[in-house]
Every structure is written in structure tokens, then in C-alpha cells.
């Protein structure tokens, strides 16, 4: 390298260094632009809905914002009112305010608000609410133009309410609530808080948005129906949906009470269910035009808002599940299944029950309806009427026939089955139902069990009582946001005491208690008692769920004495006289109760107490044994002592059940439930113990002698095991569960048979055995021999090997000669090709030699 080259390289290096550092000074604009550009990219996706302080962000960078919104946001300078954050129902937002004097502490001792006196006054409020509704209170304090800045409205409302309620004492609150103007202010404020000011401003920026907001918020009845007649999730979206409809319908049309109800409830449900807004207008239009043309059932005109939600919020079409909720389908049902309300119940009988169509395609395959869809104009109900279907199609057909006419109904899930709930003359009935385990597909609070449907009905049917309670809850929310903790707690307590069926209010009060006064035992006990005295009277399942999910976790750690707590736990079941509105699963409650025990010793005391109380109860005896057996099965093997102790406690509890003629049916049913659980847990010893107990106590229930069986070499090795069927057992079949044990005994019993793919009849033996043959005795002669039965064996209940093909069918007997196979196994199952229900099984005997 020459010196010339070196000089050149040094010069280039120097030039580069100088250039790098001097570039920003020479070209400052380009750098800034570059930064702005980067900033734009960075900020574009930010949505401000959930951020309290984000009005400081440069709005001009968000291109999607409508012009009006931009204008509004520039109006709100640093001096403007704070943006209002959207609050959800599961949390509490506190404004940035100082805690008032006297509100800062929540006494550990019970705050004795004069509940009884206050409750009497609240009852008077119900009457005034009813009168005010008839007068339809309105005021124009916030005209259309003011809605471009909802934060300012919020601030003004907040000031007005705070001025009115003073120290938020009981009398002040009652006085406040008695004036419709105040209630309207509270409703406006609640609306803005539920939506967040950004969402309200976005609605104001929509076509006719401000006019809509003014029309809605000037009308107390409309606001009350919007806010206090059911769940209010996604309120911002609901408001947007309503604005969409408002802009589409002719001027003043939403003043019509029925049209307003259709628009409001459809908007709420589409928002809550997160359905596409594009589908909202067709749904609204269906009910709107059907109502206008007089094509709905007259009862629709008298529905309340909460009931209408079932109708206008009926399930949207789902991929591959049919277009049941689409207007074309609703229209077809409306016009072709027009019946009085009570005749919709059972209208599934218009469809043929078919697992396969005439071409042999399964109802679960795409080919089943496909060729007919074009002919039926892609109308699911019509297609199923042509071809037929199974439980899902039948239940949807009946449900949507009622919904299309404007009557509340919902489909339900049951184990492996679909049924429906329909209201006939004010009373909910279960249609096409098989099992008690019923889960509604339309729920208000995410609780699908039957009792919650009845609770919803009872809660909202008492309209003004619930409205008072809900409006006090709204006030409680406002007070909590102002950090007036004590007043908020008192207000919440008043609300739940006034309407003890108010599930969402109870849940919210419990959450607030956990937040601000988690150590206040007296309040927790008061809430516990309110649940027992209110919901607990009729709604056993709901009350037990409320306690186990939301109250025990707060209450139990505060109760020092384990005995006291156990008495409280078992007292729940003492309090219940029967199942309530429908049978329910007690296991989650018992699990929640036992979860509060801190040691095995406490668990044993708890189990003894619940067994003592529940075994004496006709309804709960079987389920508590079932739960106990499931609990024992889940105890790890390492804790064998506890497992054995629990098992012996359960067996002794069972043994105490009476065997007299009078008590026999009850004992039979109890042991039946327990033995089915032992089957599910694959526990041969428990299965055998219960079976023998049943044989001892309820001998007349068993056959005296069975059919003569010609067996195989060796002894019957299955008689000390357990047997399990693939089918879902109905209530009656569970009651007769002890006959399953008898299937393995020489005198025979009964177990329902179902063979489908890898599901059939399974026997788990006590010990492994070398199997020489299997004989199965059907309850009746096997007529159809077109599909073979076969035998599979396993040593671990996981990996199965086929050892016997083509069982020899002879009358009631199916025989498998396995002498040549010489296979050892602990589990044996019998299967059959196809998917048909088969006759029940009376005897099942595995022959061989134990190893």
C-alpha cells in the first residue's frame, strides 16, 4: 500500500466521521420527519378505549378517527375534563379523588345500617318507580350538540350527583333515588362509565349519533330498560348497534315501545354475544317487519325487555350448524309453523327422527342434507322437515319455531343429547329432554343450569323490586368510584337485601367486600345469611353456587373454629328440603367446602359431618356417596391411610341405610348412584362392596336365579370385578345401577347395551387371568346377526388387542372361545361394528384361571 493510498483512506475516514456528526445539523427537517414517520407507524394501532389518560396522545395520527371525533378531541385540551375509562363488571375503578372523612375505614365490626327500616322505604320506592314509569319522565338537560364531549357531561353529572347525595347516608340516598331526575342522572353517568367516554364519543360521531344519544338519555324509561334489565357487557358496542338502527329506521319510529324494545334488546345481545354488527340489521328487520305486519304471536307485544333478549338475541348461524337464526329460516318457520304458544312445545314431532337419510348418509355427515339445500332455498328448518334429523335438529326446530313467532325459548345441552327449554304460559318446561344435567345455550350470567333460568325469570319478573336493587347497585358503583367505601358497602348491602335473588348484584357485592373489607367477618356472615334466606328458599342450586364460588373463599378463612364452619357447610343442605327447581350437581359445592379444610384431620371431620347430614336426606344421599367415591379415587395412592379411612367411612354410611321394605327403594336408589360412580372410577373393590351391600339390603330387587350357561374351562374370573357400559345412563338406569353388579353374578342382572366403534361393554377384573372364553347373555333374543360382535383384551385399560372375532350368536347367548389364544388380561371388552342401540345385557361371564 503506497503512502498515497493511505492518505486517501484517512481522508475518506475523516470525511465520513465529520459527515455523520454534522448531518443532523445540516438536514434537521429530514430527521424529524423520519421520527414522526416512525411515530406514526408506532401509534397507529393503539386503541384508546381502555386508557384513562390517553387523550394526551396525538389524535391527528390516527387516520381512522372520524372528523367529528378529531374535532372533539382537539376541543378537549389539557384543561378539559378527564376521559372516562370503561369499567367492566368484574372490577372496580376508583377515580383519582381523596377519601372523604369517615369513609376511609371500614370497621371490622358489622356496620349496623338500619336494614329493616331502610328496606321498608325501598319497598315504597318500588311503588314510586312504577308510577314514574307510567308518566314516562324525560328531560333535555343534555341536548344533541352536547354529546360531542361525553367527558364533560360525565363531569357535570358527577358534580350534580355528589351535590345531591351529600354524605351518602341512607336517608340522603333514599331521597336521591325518589326523584326521577336524579335517577336519570345516575343512569346517564352509569351509561358513560359502562361504555367509556371514547366509545360514547365514537357513537356521537356516527350519522345521527348525537341525536340518538340525546333521544336515549332524555328518556328515563328507555335508560332504565337499557341498563337494568339484564347483563350489560359490551355496552359501548350495544350503543353503537342502537345508533346504527336509529340511523336506519324512519324518524320517531323508536318511540314506539315495541320497536324500541326490539332495537334495544337486539343491540344488547349482538354486543354481548360479540356477533357481527352486519347481521344485526337483518335480525332487527325480521322482528320489526314481522311485528309491523302482524305476523308475530300477540304475546310478543307484552314481553318485557329481559324476555325479549331470548327472542331477538336468538343464536346466530354457526358454521356447519345450520342457519337457524338467519332471517330466511326464521321467516320460513314463522310462516309454516304458526301455532298457539303451548303447541310449539312438542312441535319437533313434525320432523322424522332419523340417524341416516334415505341414501344411507349419516346425519353427522355433510352429505346428509347437501343435495336438498338448494331445493329448500338453504333454509335449515325446511331441509330437516324434508329429510328428518336427530335430537339437535328436532330441538332446534321446536325452539326456533317459537323464537320465530316471538316467544322465548332456548336449546339446551344434555350429556350426548340436545333438548330445549320453552316457556308455556309463564312456566319454563324442558322439551325433548332425557337427563337432568341440562345446560342452556342462552344464559344471562354464564350459568347454564336449569335453576338459573328459573332464577332469571323470578328475578326479572319482579320488575320494580329488581329495578330498585339494580339502581342501588349503580349508586354503589358510583360511590365506590368516589372511594366512599363505607357508603358503597352499605348501598350494595341494601341492594342485595332488598332483592336477594339478584345474582349479579350478590356477586358484585362479594367482590367489593373482598376488595375493601375482606376481614369483616360480620359482613361476610350477613351476606351468607342473605343468600340462604333469599335464593336458598327456592333456588338451591343458585344459592349453593353463589356460596361456593363467591362467599366461602372470603368467609372460610375468617372462621376460626372448624366445627362452626362445618356446621355452616352442612347447614346448607339441612336448609334445602328437596332439589329445588331441578336436580343439580352437588359435587362442586362439596369440593369447594372441603377445599377450605387445612389438614387431613379437618377433612375427616368435614366428611363425617356431611355424610351425617346428607345421608339422612332422601335426595342427596346418593349424590354425596358418588361425590365421596370420586373424591377418594382422586386421593393420591401415597396417602393410602386417608384413602382407606375415607372409603370405610363411606361404606359405613352406606351400610347404615335402612333395608326395611319402606326404605328399600330409597336405599336402592342411593346405592345405585354410588355403584355407577364406582364403575366410572374403575374400582372393582368398591363396586363389589356396594353390590354385595345392595344384595343384602334389597334382595327382592334381584332375580332369584339366572339362565343356565354353558361355560368354558376354568372358573368365572369376572364375578369379583366391575362392569361398565358405553351408553350414558338415564335417571332410571342409574337408580337400578346395582343390577350392573348382578350381571357378573350367576343370577344375572341388567345393564344397558350400546356398541359404537370402540365403545361397548367393559369388564375390569380384580386380578389378571388367563382367559379361556367369554359368554354374554343378552336380555332378549338377538334378532339381527348382520354385524359381528368381537372381544378385545387389555392389561392396562389403555392398549387393546382383538382376540375373539365373530362371537357365535345363539338365541340370547354370544359365545367367544378363546382357548387357543391363551392370552392373559385384566380387562375384557365386547364391541360390535355399527352405531346402533342394542338390547341390554343380563349376564357377562369371563372364564379362565387367575394368575
Amino acid at each position: 500500500m503506497t503512502p498515497r493510498c493511505i492518505r486517501l483512506l484517512v481522508a475518506i475516514l475523516l470525511f465520513s466521521v465529520v459527515g455523520f456528526f454534522s448531518f443532523p445539523m445540516v438536514f434537521p427537517v429530514y430527521m424529524e420527519r423520519a421520527v414522526v414517520k416512525e411515530d406514526k407507524v408506532k401509534h397507529k394501532p393503539i386503541r384508546r378505549n381502555h386508557v384513562v389518560d390517553d387523550w394526551a396522545t396525538d389524535d391527528s395520527l390516527t387516520k381512522e378517527e372520524p372528523a367529528d371525533a378529531e374535532e372533539a378531541s382537539t376541543d378537549k385540551g389539557d384543561e378539559g375534563p378527564a376521559r372516562v375509562a370503561k369499567y367492566d363488571e368484574d372490577s372496580f375503578h376508583e377515580d383519582n379523588v381523596e377519601i372523604r372523612k369517615g369513609q376511609e375505614k371500614v370497621s371490622a365490626a358489622r356496620q349496623h345500617i338500619h336494614v329493616s327500616g331502610a328496606l321498608a322505604k325501598l319497598r315504597n320506592l318500588e311503588t314510586s318507580f312504577e308510577k314514574d314509569e307510567a308518566k314516562n319522565f324525560t328531560n333535555d338537560d343534555f341536548p344533541a350538540e352536547s354529546w360531542s364531549n361525553s367527558s364533560a357531561i360525565h363531569q357535570s353529572l358527577q358534580e350534580r350527583i355528589l351535590a345531591e347525595i351529600g354524605n351518602a347516608g341512607e336517608d340522603e340516598l333514599l331521597k336521591f333515588m325518589s326523584k326521577p331526575a336524579n335517577r336519570l342522572d345516575l343512569a346517564r353517568l352509569t351509561l358513560i362509565r359502562k361504555c367509556g367516554s371514547d366509545a360514547v364519543d365514537a357513537v356521537a360521531a356516527m350519522p345521527k349519533g348525537k341525536e340518538f344519544l340525546a333521544a336515549l338519555t332524555r328518556d328515563l324509561n328507555w335508560m332504565t330498560n337499557l341498563l337494568y334489565t339484564g347483563p350489560t357487557q359490551q355496552m359501548g358496542k350495544a350503543l353503537e348497534n342502537m345508533a346504527l338502527i336509529y340511523a336506519k329506521v324512519p324518524e320517531g319510529e323508536l318511540n314506539h315501545p315495541v320497536v324500541r324494545r326490539i332495537a334495544t334488546t337486539a343491540s344488547q345481545e349482538f354486543a354481548r354475544e360479540r356477533w357481527n354488527s352486519e347481521d344485526l340489521l337483518p335480525r332487527f328487520d325480521y322482528y320489526y317487519s314481522s311485528y309491523k305486519d302482524g305476523l308475530l304471536n300477540k304475546k310478543f307485544e307484552t314481553l318485557d325487555y329481559w324476555e325479549t333478549r331470548f327472542v331477538t338475541g336468538c343464536k346466530q348461524p354457526q358454521r356447519m350448524a345450520g342457519n337457524w337464526g338467519e332471517p330466511r329460516n326464521l321467516r320460513w318457520l314463522r310462516d309454516n309453523v304458526r301455532l298457539p304458544e303451548e303447541r310449539y312445545f312438542g312441535s319437533e314431532g313434525q320432523l322424522a327422527y332419523r340417524l341416516r337419510n334415505v341414501a344411507g348418509d349419516s346425519v353427522f355427515s355433510e352429505e346428509y342434507l347437501a343435495p336438498i339445500l338448494s331445493y329448500t332455498n338453504f333454509t335449515t328448518a325446511y331441509a330437516y322437515r324434508c329429510i328428518g334429523g336427530v335430537c339437535g335438529a328436532l330441538s332446534h326446530y321446536a325452539t326456533f319455531s317459537a323464537l320465530a313467532a316471538g316467544l322465548p325459548a332456548s336449546t339446551c345441552g344434555e350429556p350426548g343429547h340436545c333438548s330445549y327449554a320453552m316457556r308455556v304460559n309463564g312456566e319454563w318446561r324442558a322439551g325433548n329432554a332425557i337427563y337432568w344435567q341440562r345446560n342452556l345455550h342462552k344464559t344471562f350470567w354464564g350459568e347454564g343450569a336449569w335453576d338459573f333460568l328459573i332464577l332469571t325469570q323470578n328475578l326479572y319478573s319482579d320488575r320494580f323490586k329488581t329495578s330498585v336493587s339494580d339502581q342501588f347497585m349503580a349508586m354503589g358503583d358510583f360511590l365506590s368510584s368516589q372511594r366512599m367505601n363505607r357508603s358503597a358497602l352499605d348501598t350494595y348491602e341494601l341492594a342485595v337485601r332488598h332483592q336477594p335473588l339478584n345474582w349479579p348484584a350478590m356477586k358484585r357485592y362479594a367482590a367489593y367486600l373482598r376488595k375493601v373489607a375482606s376481614d369483616d367477618l360480620a359482613r361476610w356472615e350477613s351476606l351468607h345469611d342473605a343468600v340462604m334466606d333469599g335464593m336458598g328458599k327456592e333456588h338451591h342450586h343458585a344459592a349453593a353456587t353463589m356460596l361456593s364460588k363467591y362467599i366461602y373463599p372470603g368467609l372460610a378463612p375468617l372462621v376460626e373454629n372448624n366445627q362452626t364452619l362445618n356446621r355452616k357447610f352442612s347447614g346448607l343442605f339441612k336448609h334445602f328440603k328437596n332439589w329445588g327447581s331441578n336436580r343439580w350437581d352437588i359435587a362442586p359445592v362439596l369440593n369447594a367446602q372441603i377445599a377450605t379444610c387445612r389438614s387431613d384431620a379437618e377433612r375427616k371431620v368435614y366428611l363425617r359431618e356431611v355424610l351425617r347430614v346428607l345421608m339422612a336426606h332422601k335426595e342427596y344421599a346418593g349424590p354425596v356417596l358418588t361425590w365421596g367415591l370420586a373424591y377418594v379415587a382422586a386421593v393420591p395412592e401415597s396417602n393410602a391411610k386417608l384413602k382407606d379411612e375415607f372409603t370405610s367411612m363411606l361404606m359405613s354410611a352406606m351400610a347404615r341405610k335402612g333395608g326395611s321394605r319402606k326404605e328399600m327403594d330409597e336405599t336402592w336408589a342411593t346405592l345405585g348412584e354410588a355403584i355407577c360412580m364406582a364403575e366410572n372410577n374403575a374400582e372393582p373393590r368398591t363396586f363389589q362392596a356396594i353390590g354385595k351391600l345392595a344384595y343384602m339390603k334389597c334382595k327382592p330387587k334381584f332375580a332369584k336365579k339366572g339362565v343356565k350357561v354353558s361355560g368354558f374351562p376354568g372358573k368365572v374370573v369376572s364375578s369379583t370385578g366391575y362392569i361398565k357400559t358405553a351408553t350414558t345412563l338415564g335417571d332410571g338406569q342409574v337408580r337400578d345401577g346395582c343390577l350392573h353388579w348382578a350381571v357378573l353374578q350367576p343370577f344375572g342382572g341388567f345393564i344397558p347395551g350400546k356398541f359404537e366403534g370402540k365403545a361397548g361393554l367393559t369388564v375390569g377384573m380384580e386380578n389378571s387371568a388367563e382367559i379361556s372364553g367369554v359368554v354374554c347373555v343378552a336380555a332378549e333374543k338377538i334378532e339381527k346377526k348382520d354385524r359381528p360382535f368381537y372381544i378385545e383384551i387389555s392389561s392396562d385399560n389403555q392398549n387393546w388387542y382383538r382376540v375373539g372375532e365373530n362371537g357365535v350368536i345363539d338365541g340370547r347367548f354370544i359365545r367367544f372361545d378363546l382357548r387357543k389364544a391363551k392370552r392373559k388380561a385384566k380387562f375384557v371388552r365386547m364391541l360390535r361394528e355399527g352405531d346402533k342401540y342394542e338390547p341390554g345385557i343380563a349376564g357377562f361371564y369371563v372364564y379362565g384361571k387367575e394368575v
Binding site: 357487557q233 302482524g294 304471536n297 300477540k298 358454521r319 356447519m320 350448524a321 342457519n323 310462516d335 309454516n336 304458526r338 301455532l339 298457539p340 304458544e341 303447541r343 312441535s347 313434525q350 341416516r356 337419510n357 334415505v358 341414501a359 344411507g360 348418509d361 346425519v363 353427522f364 355433510e366 352429505e367 342434507l369 347437501a370 343435495p371 336438498i372 339445500l373 338448494s374 331445493y375 338453504f378 331441509a383 324434508c386 334429523g389 336427530v390 335430537c391 339437535g392 335438529a393 345441552g413 344434555e414 350429556p415 350426548g416 343429547h417 340436545c418 344435567q437 345446560n439 345455550h441 344464559t443 354464564g446 350459568e447 347454564g448 353456587t545 350437581d585 362442586p588 350414558t728 348382520d786
Partner: protein, 316 residues
């Protein structure tokens, strides 16, 4: 006098013609006793206290008596369906039924049901399309009544005929697109009519399952050759055969032939539409719009939304 003449004629006609007498007040039981093979009962069922559409139809069809032209030579009975009836309404319904029960098959109101003297539902006008206005409903009712009379005529002739002639007449009667009286079907259980009544398309599907396509073809042809089956039943046989071929990967030409034959048996029927759809899907392989495909949710499978443990509590 000239002006009075039409009025007097109409009055006389109404008084003299039994079919046009105001019979809305008679009970269903009385109507059945007055009915005969030539004169069936026409039952006008309507929603009495809950359905504005029924009220409109009632007003036009019955109150203004405009349906009477189509319901000539029948015993016309009004049958209100009350929603959650009160005591007075229950009594009214009892009185109108007169200790008789309505036949099954009335699936939607307002409707016009044609019922024979034995109380069997023979035909019905009840779809929205048929009941949309007086003209359409009248035409539909006339069609059903004509079918009824033609069928009754054939049944009466069959009663007097013997052997093959009798069977032939019964089959002709059964091919008319309304319901046959069940007692007629029972009485011919051992004949070709009997084959028709005992035919079960799903059993046929099962039978075919184990057969090779050619054997299945021969079986279907033999079944058809027996005669006596209705058009719909012959279409069902071909549907079963078509499905069997499809599952055995038969050629498109063979499928087309089967479905074309199925369609041509009764081109206006639902099964003809099924055959058309099958040709489009499985012969011409026209892509199916997935968004329109419907299948039953399998509630027996664990992954369905209603599996056995799904009724347990779930958080919103």
C-alpha cells in the same frame, strides 16, 4: 223488482243449498256424522286469540264467506285454536270438538284440513305459500278436494272389484298425492298395497350395505319389478342405491344414470330435487359452498358443545 231479483235469488240459494248453510257453529263430531265419501269435512283451523294473520284470514275466508265457493259439497267447520285458553274458551273448544279428537298433521294455522267421515286427515292446505291469499288457498283446496273425490271413487270401485283389478284400483288410489285412509291399507296387507305400506327405506339401506354394487343393482331392480310401490318409494330405492354406489366409488356416469332415473320418476317432487342436487354435487362436482353446509352437531361426541360434563359451571 229488477233490483230485487238478484237479492232474492241469492237468499233462496243460501236457504236451499245445504253446502252453503252457515255451518261454522256445528261441532266437529256432528260434522263427521254428516260427512260421507262424496262430502268430506273441511276444517278451518285458525288462531283465535293470538294471531293477527289468522284474524285477517278468518275475516276474509269465513266471515265474508269467500272460501265457500271452493268448499262446496263439504261440511265446513270452524275450529278456533286458543292460546292458553281460559275456562270459557276451553268450554268452547270442547263444544266444538264434541268428544272427538283432531287428527295429527295439523302443523300450522290458519289451515284448511280435508277430513273423511272416519276422522282421517286426507289432505291439508297449510303452507304459507298456499294460504297467502283467498285465490291461492281456494285453488289449493279445490285441488285437494278433487284428489279426495277421485281417490274415494277408486276405493269404492276397488271395493266392488276382485283380485288383480281390485289391487290395480287400490294402487291407482294410493298414487294420488293425498293420504290414503289407513284402514284401506290395513285391509290389503297381504297384497301389493301391503308391500307398499311395509316398505322401509332405511332397512333397504342396511340390506344394501353388505352387497356388491352389481348385486345391489339386481336387488333394486327385482324390488321394483314386484310392483305396487309408490313413486316416492321407487325414488327412495334409487336414493339408497345411489348412496351405496357413491360410497363404493362408482363412476360419475353410473351415478348420473341412477339419479336421472330417480328424478324422472316424479320430476316435481322433493326427491327429484334431491336427485338434481346429487347430480350437481357428486356427478358434476360443482363445489359446495361450505358456508351453507349443515350437519347435525354430534352430541354423543366429547368435543361437542354439550358433552356430558359441559353442563358444569362455566364463567361468562
Amino acid at each position: 223488482m229488477k233490483k230485487l231479483f238478484p237479492f232474492i235469488s241469492v237468499l233462496l240459494l243460501m236457504v236451499c243449498s245445504p253446502s252453503l248453510q252457515a255451518q261454522g257453529g256445528i261441532s266437529y263430531a256432528d260434522a263427521l256424522s254428516r260427512a260421507n265419501s262424496k262430502r268430506p269435512v273441511v276444517l278451518f283451523c285458525y288462531g283465535a286469540n293470538y294471531d293477527k294473520f289468522s284474524e285477517k284470514v278468518y275475516d276474509e275466508f269465513v266471515r265474508k264467506r269467500k272460501i265457500m265457493a271452493a268448499a262446496r259439497q263439504t261440511v265446513f267447520v270452524e275450529m278456533p285454536f286458543y292460546q292458553n285458553p281460559n275456562e270459557r274458551e276451553k268450554k268452547d273448544m270442547e263444544r266444538r270438538l264434541g268428544k272427538k279428537r283432531l287428527p295429527g298433521g295439523i302443523w300450522s294455522v290458519p289451515c284448511l284440513a280435508v277430513i273423511d267421515a272416519q276422522g282421517n286427515l286426507r289432505g291439508i292446505v297449510q303452507t304459507a305459500e298456499e294460504m297467502k291469499d283467498l285465490k291461492t288457498a281456494s285453488a289449493a283446496l279445490t285441488r285437494v278436494l278433487n284428489d279426495y273425490r277421485a281417490q274415494e271413487d277408486l276405493i269404492q270401485k276397488a271395493a266392488k272389484a276382485k283380485d288383480e283389478r281390485k289391487m290395480d284400483l287400490m294402487l291407482q288410489a294410493a298414487d294420488i298425492n293425498i293420504n290414503m285412509p289407513p284402514q284401506e291399507q290395513k285391509s290389503s296387507a297381504q297384497t301389493a298395497m301391503g308391500q307398499r305400506t311395509t316398505f322401509d327405506p332405511l332397512s333397504l339401506v342396511e340390506e344394501l350395505q353388505t352387497m356388491a354394487p352389481d348385486v345391489a343393482y339386481a336387488h333394486i331392480r327385482a324390488l321394483m319389478a314386484q310392483g305396487g310401490h309408490s313413486r316416492a318409494q321407487r325414488q327412495e330405492m334409487l336414493a339408497a342405491f345411489g348412496g351405496h354406489l357413491r360410497r363404493n366409488n362408482a363412476s360419475p356416469d353410473r351415478l348420473r344414470a341412477v339419479y336421472t332415473e330417480m328424478r324422472n320418476i316424479d320430476p316435481g317432487s322433493m326427491y327429484a330435487a334431491y336427485a338434481e342436487g346429487a347430480i350437481a354435487l357428486w356427478v358434476e362436482r360443482k363445489p359446495l359452498d361450505k358456508s351453507t353446509v349443515v350437519t347435525e352437531v354430534d352430541y354423543t361426541k366429547g368435543d361437542s358443545e354439550t358433552s356430558s360434563d359441559d353442563y358444569s359451571d362455566e364463567e361468562e
